[in-house]
Amino acid sequence: MTLKQIAIQNLLRRKGKALLILVGLVLGIGTVVTVISFSDAVTGDINHKLEKYGANILVVPRTENLSLSYGGIQMGGISFDMQELRETDLEAVKHIKNYRNIAAMGPMALGAVRVNDRPVMLAGVDFEEARILKPWWKVEGGQPGAGGILAGAEAARVLGLAVGNSLDLGGHPLVVTGILMPTGSQDDQLLFTTLPTAQNVLNMPGRVSMVEVAALCTGCPIEDMVRQISAALPGAKVMAIQQVVKGRMETLAQFKKLSFGVSVIIVLIGSLVVLVTMTGSVRERKEEIGVFRAIGFRKAHVMRIILMEATLIALAAGIVGYLGSMGATRLALMLFADNPHVALPWNVPLAAGALGMSLVVGVLASVYPALTAARMDPNDALRAL
């Protein structure tokens, strides 16, 4: 017979009480883990979606000119007095450390052309990459191949273009294969074609005006990506689109704040359940504790029994809480998430955290009942003597 055996036997005998404390802790720890897993999973999913939601890095040639446009209003003629980037230069980006974080890289050739005596900007793009860079594009008709044109909504209206119309761009005959539905962006003003076609029309073979990059920032800050691309393209100016980045970070921060707030409240409730139940249990065991003290148990021995019981329950609660929370998270994802198939991997640090938190909450909440038990006067406790 040891103190540990007394603790175990008591738990086995008082299954109801032990179960109540276990349930309190499991609910507390389980909910915290569920909230964290759920928010991590959904945040990861949102993050992934956001990262794919358009470009977040722009690569443009270095220039000494200052922009003369603001809010879409041009204050002067468009200046293209700058160095174009070479398509071959972009190969260097494939060798940066975090290249695998680049979801899409879309080089663009930009230049002014005349259609029906009106100036309009022609953009040569890689339509495959554009699917990722501009997922909001909706096209009436079809995507253009070589010799095809996709007209922005406003450009089509102003120029009177419809699907099937033929255009002559500086001696290059092209056919309108699609009209871009209004996007509310500058894309509405442009005519799009394939990159080689635009390079041919604009007489800029092998060169591009700018590159749009969609970088997945999980595991690496966008500033790192900018630095790495800048190093790979010394002749280019690489810029992070701050609004997009900040928006993402704020979304994540709000998720985290909510999760943290809910977690703190639930842990407090769990602690309270343990405290109340353990205190009640100690009072019920007054006679037993009186016997322990009368036959020579020190205060520390009594405390050790109570805290050992709390530790055993907390260990079980940590394990059950984590396992249960994984099931609950999967269920919550199915019920509340846009994408119910979000990955939910076993998270060892989270499991260890759940176990640790369960132990800390269980044991800390049991310190007061343990002290109460240890301080019991054996004479009062036994009454009989």
């Binding site: 007394i6 008591n10 086995l12 006679e287 016997v291 003290r293 009368a294 021995h301 006067d377 009989a384």
Partner: protein
Amino acid sequence: MSTMKGENLTKQYGYGEAAVTAIDGMTFMIGSGEFVGIMGESGAGKSTLLSIMGAMNAPSAGTLTVEGIDVYSLGQEQRADFRREFLGFVFQSFHLIAYLTLEENVMLPLATIRMPRRRKLEMARYALAAVGLDGKGRRLPSQISGGEKERTAIARAIVNQPPILLADEPTGNLDSRTSREIMELLQGLKNDGTTVVMVTHSRECARFADRILQVADGHLKGDACPTDDVRVKAA
């Protein structure tokens, strides 16, 4: 050398006008290997006296010395060690732990001692055999009779072979036949050298004691052999 010596022991509960004196200036000596009964009416102070003897209730005044140790000069934790080493308790209501088997109940005083489990088990079985419960160690307290519970409580009290056994109404909840068996058991322990101090209401039980301390209104009114007429000491 005397085993236990109480000098001018006084115990008051409460303060001021509400103060109640449970025992008042008791002085006594109990020799090693004696079987002493404490008798008196309810509220006379015998249970308070026993709890003071048990190192669980500090007197308001006076000293208790056991084998030369001034018990109440010890700190609380040292008194716990003292109880474990010197005293065995037998409670009126048995106070067995319901979720432990008889063997485990008897092993309780050994729980805080570093000793191989097998050795503890041997000691518990030996103690159970000594009180006539050989082979019943795996039972729970709910599976045995009142007499057997009392025997188990005695086995728990003697498992670590303390020099002094304190018993509070050990036969209070038992029939006369079982009471007699328990008293014979206590007498046997006394014969083996254990000092036994027992609170009892029963004159029948008191007959087994070597001496009777008669307590009334918080005072020690008499100290006599049970077969003699009680001699009233001058206050």
